[in-house]
Symmetry: C2
Subunit: 468 residues, 2 copies
C-alpha cells in the first residue's frame, strides 16, 4: 500500500465504507461525522483531556466568531491566515458594522481576554485548552480528516512569567505528546521548523510529523513558542514581583482530527481499518455462531458475555444481526474492531470463546472464566505491536544523505545544513520536498559534517521529506 | 428574590462572580465559557448522552455551515429563521457563489443527508442527535445562557415509518425529559403550543417551560412533530414493505445551555449558586482548618480524604490556598459547591469531618470511616430537597382563572379556552402575557368550563404566563 495513488484510493474509500464520515455533504471540505467516526474522535479527545487534566490545563470554550478589529492586531498572523478565513458579513437583514471571521485558530479570540485575565505574576502560569471546530478555506484538494475546511481541533494556550517558563511548558507539551502518541500507536518526528515555515506570529515552531504509507510526511500538530509576539499587540502584561508591568510569554500546542486520519492511514491494511484498542469505538465484537436447535442457548450465552465484558469496562458489541458469520467477520474487520469473539455450542461446552485478533491476524482460545482480564492483555499486546510496527516504519524511512541529490522520494532524508536559508530553498526547489526542520532536541553534528548543498560546515542536521 | 429587577441583577452578577462565564468578549451575545461553567455544562451534556445512549440514539456531528440553497427548500422554516441567521458571504479573497449560513438549528443541514441515508423501512427508525453550537442573531437583550447569539445546543432528529411511530418517539422524548429534569431538579410544564407559536415547519410543538424567580416562564426546550413537512421538500422517502416509496415522518427534540441558566436561576440564593450534586463541577470541597503546629498533619489528612473520595467517584477539591477559612467558605458558597468538608485537629482526633451542606443550610458530623458513602447519601438528600422545593414553587404558581382579567403577573394562569385563535390573541394583547399552550397530555375540562374570553364552551385548558 505504499504506492501513493493506491493508498489514496484505499483511504478515501475506507473512511466512508467503515462508516467514519459521509462525504456527500453539499459543502466542499465539510463532511458529516457518522456515529462510528465521531465516537473514535471523541475517544481521542478523551485521551487529550486526560493529559490536560494531568498537567492542570483548564478547559475553556471561546466564541467561534472573531471581530476583524481583533484579528487585525497581529500583523504577521493576518498575513499567514488572511487568505484562508471565512467572513460573516451579514446577520439577519443587516450588514455588520464590523465583519466577523470564523476562527481559523483562536489566538485572536483568546488574547484580548487573556489581557484582562492576566494581572499579576500570581495569575501565571495560565494554562488553558479547548476542543472546538476551526475553519480554513483550503484551496488544496480536501481529504477526510487530513485536509478539511471545517476542522475538529485541539488547542492549548498558555501564558508565563518569562521565556524560560514558556520553555518549560514546551517541554511539558513534548512529554504530553509522548504519552498521547503512544496511546494512538503513532510515532512522530520532532523538528524545529525553518524560519520560513514557522507559524504566523511564532518565535519558533516545533512540528510533529509522522510518515504515511504514501511515503510522505503528515503534520500531526505543532507547538509554538510565541515569546511576547502576541502579548505586545494584545497587551498581555502582568505586574512582576518588583512591581513593574511586563509582557507575558506565551505558547500554544495544536492538534486536529488528522490524528484520526493518521490512525486510519498508518495501521490499516487491505482488509480495512485497524483501530488500536485505546480508541476503538468497539473494542470487541461478539459474533454468535448459531446452528439449528441451539440458537437461544447460544444467544443467551453471548448476551451474558456481553454484560460481563461491559461491566469490566470493555467497549463490547453483540452483533445479533440476521447475517451469516462470514459476512459479519468481513464487516468488523473492515471497521477495524481489534477483537472478534466467536461463541458457538462447541465453545460453550469447552468453556472458552474463540478470539480472532485483528492486529495479530491470529485466532486464540480464551478461557470463558475471567475472559475480561485475558482480553485486556490481548489489547495491551495489540497496542505494543501497532506501536512497534509503526515506529520501525518511521525509523527505517529515515536515510542520512550527504548531498541533496541523493534525496529519494518516499524517505525522510537527514542531511547536514549550513543554516543558510538559500541552501534550504535550493533543496526544496530541486527535490520538490520540504525541509521539516532541525531535530528537537538539538543534535550536534559530528566533526566534518558538511552542508548537503554548499558543502560548508554544517552545525546542524535537517530533515527533508515530501509532505501531505 | 422574586422581584424581577433584583433577580436580573443577582443573576447577571452571579454568573460572572462564580466563574461560569466572562461576558467581556468583544462580540455582543457571545460569552467565553470559563472552566467552572464549561465543566457544569459538560456534566449536563453527559446526562443527555446517558439518556441518548439508553434510548439508542446515535451521536453524529454535522457541519456548521449550510448552503443557502438547502436552507431555502423549506419555506415556513425560512420565514421563521430568516431574520436571525448569520451569513458567510466571503472566504479568503473570494465572494462565495452560494452564501453559507451558520446553523440556527440543523434541520436544513441534516435532512439532505437523511434523504440519502433513509432508503428502506429497515433503515427506520433513524435516531440521531448532536451537541453543537448554534447561532441566532437575537435582537432582544442578551443574557448569559438564557438568550445568546452563540448557543450551546442539543438536538435530536429522528425519522419514522409513520405518524404513529413518530408519536411513540415523542412519548419517549417526554420520558427522557422526565429523567433528565429530575437530575437537574428542574420542574417543567408540558404544553402543546398554539398554532401561531409553533416551531417554523412543525406540525405541532410541545414546549417545555419552567418558572424562573422573576415569575416569568422560560422555555427549556421543545419537541416537534414534523409529520412529513420536511420529508417532502427534502425528499426523505423509503420503500415500505409493500414496495412503495413513501415519505418518512420526523421529530426533533431540542434543548440548550438555558438548562444551566435555569439551574443557576432556580436553585440559587442570596449567597450564590447552589448546584445539584448531579452536575456540580465540584461536589465537595475540603477546607483544612490549620492552627499553629499542626499544619502538616492536617494537610496530610486532608489529602488522604481527597484521595479517598476521588477514588469513590466524588468530584472533590482540596482548597489549599493561603486564605482564611471564612474567605474560602464564602467563596465556595458563592460557587454553589453542595458540600464543604472542614477538617481540623479536633476532627482528626474525633474520627470525623464537619460537613456543611449548602442545600440544607446545616452542618453535620460525618464519620471519617466510610465518609464517601455517607456523603453520597447527603447528595441524594440534596437532590430530593432541590427537586421538591422547585416543584412546589412551580405548582404553587399555577392559578386557575375564569376570566382573563383575573390574570396576575408572576403566576401561570390556567383557563378555559374555546380554541379560537382570536380569543388567544385577545388574551395576549390584554395581559401582555403569552399563551404557553394546552396541557400535554391532553386534559379534559369539566362540564360547563367556559372560554376565559368569549364565554363559549371551552373544550380545553390553556396556560397563560409572562415569558422570558
Amino acid at each position: 500500500m505504499r504506492k501513493e495513488e493506491e493508498f489514496n484510493d484505499w483511504y478515501n474509500n475506507i473512511v466512508e465504507e467503515a462508516g467514519l464520515v459521509d462525504k456527500r455533504y453539499p459543502v466542499k471540505g465539510m463532511n458529516v461525522w457518522l456515529p462510528y467516526g465521531w465516537k473514535a474522535m471523541r475517544l481521542i479527545d478523551a485521551l487529550i483531556r486526560r493529559e490536560m487534566e494531568r498537567t492542570e490545563h483548564d478547559e475553556v470554550c471561546f466564541p467561534l466568531l472573531i471581530p476583524k478589529t481583533e484579528f487585525d492586531k497581529e500583523a504577521e498572523h493576518i498575513a499567514g491566515f488572511g487568505a484562508e478565513v471565512y467572513w460573516v458579513t451579514h446577520a439577519g437583514n443587516n450588514e455588520l458594522d464590523v465583519p466577523l471571521l470564523l476562527r481559523p485558530t483562536s489566538e485572536t479570540a483568546m488574547y484580548p481576554m487573556f489581557s484582562l485575565w492576566v494581572r499579576s505574576h500570581t495569575d501565571l502560569p495560565l494554562k488553558t485548552f479547548q476542543l472546538v471546530n476551526t475553519f480554513r478555506y483550503e484551496t488544496k484538494q480536501t481529504k477526510a480528516f487530513i485536509r478539511m475546511r471545517e476542522i475538529h481541533f485541539f488547542e492549548a494556550h498558555t501564558c508565563h512569567v518569562d521565556f524560560e517558563d514558556a520553555e518549560r511548558q514546551i517541554a511539558e507539551d513534548l512529554e504530553i505528546m509522548k504519552h498521547f502518541a503512544k496511546d494512538l500507536c503513532i510515532p512522530y518526528l520532532l523538528t524545529k521548523r525553518p524560519d520560513w515555515d514557522k507559524f504566523a506570529g511564532a518565535y519558533y515552531t516545533v512540528g510533529l510529523d509522522t510518515i504515511m504509507p504514501t511515503g510522505r510526511t503528515l503534520q500531526l500538530g505543532s507547538i509554538h513558542q510565541y515569546k511576547t509576539n502576541f502579548a505586545v499587540p494584545y497587551n498581555i502584561t502582568y505586574e512582576n514581583e518588583g512591581g513593574e508591568q511586563v509582557h507575558a510569554h506565551q505558547t500554544t500546542y495544536g492538534m486536529s482530527e488528522r490524528l484520526l486520519g493518521t490512525v486510519v492511514g498508518i495501521h490499516g491494511d487491505e482488509k480495512g481499518i485497524i483501530f488500536p484498542p485505546s480508541i476503538a469505538p468497539i473494542q470487541a465484537v461478539i459474533v454468535p455462531i448459531l446452528s439449528k436447535g441451539n440458537q437461544e442457548h447460544v444467544m443467551e450465552e453471548a448476551r451474558k458475555l456481553e454484560e460481563e465484558l461491559k461491566a469490566e469496562g470493555i467497549r463490547v458489541h453483540l452483533d445479533d444481526r440476521d447475517f451469516r458469520p462470514g459476512y459479519k467477520y468481513n464487516d468488523w474487520e473492515l471497521r477495524g474492531v481489534p477483537l472478534r469473539l466467536e461463541i458457538g455450542m462447541r465453545d460453550i461446552e469447552g468453556g472458552h470463546v474463540m478470539a480472532a485478533c485483528r492486529v495479530q491476524g491470529k485466532k486464540i482460545l480464551v478461557k470463558r472464566e475471567g475472559a475480561g482480564e485475558q482480553i485486556k492483555l490481548i489489547f495491551q499486546e495489540q497496542q505494543e505491536i501497532l506501536w512497534q510496527k509503526a515506529r520501525s516504519i518511521l525509523e527505517e524511512s529515515i536515510r542520512t544523505i550527504e548531498d541533496y541529490n541523493q534525496y529519494e522520494e518516499g524517505t525522510i532524508a537527514k542531511a547536514g545544513w549550513c543554516g543558510e536559508e538559500e541552501c534550504g530553498h535550493t533543496i526544496e526547489d530541486f527535490t520538490g520536498a520540504a525541509i521539516l526542520g532541525t531535530p528537537v532536541p538539538e543534535e550536534e553534528t559530528p566533526e566534518g559534517t558538511r552542508c548537503c548543498v554548499c558543502g560548508a560546515h554544517a552545525p546542524s542536521w535537517i530533515y527533508i521529506a515530501k509532505t501531505h
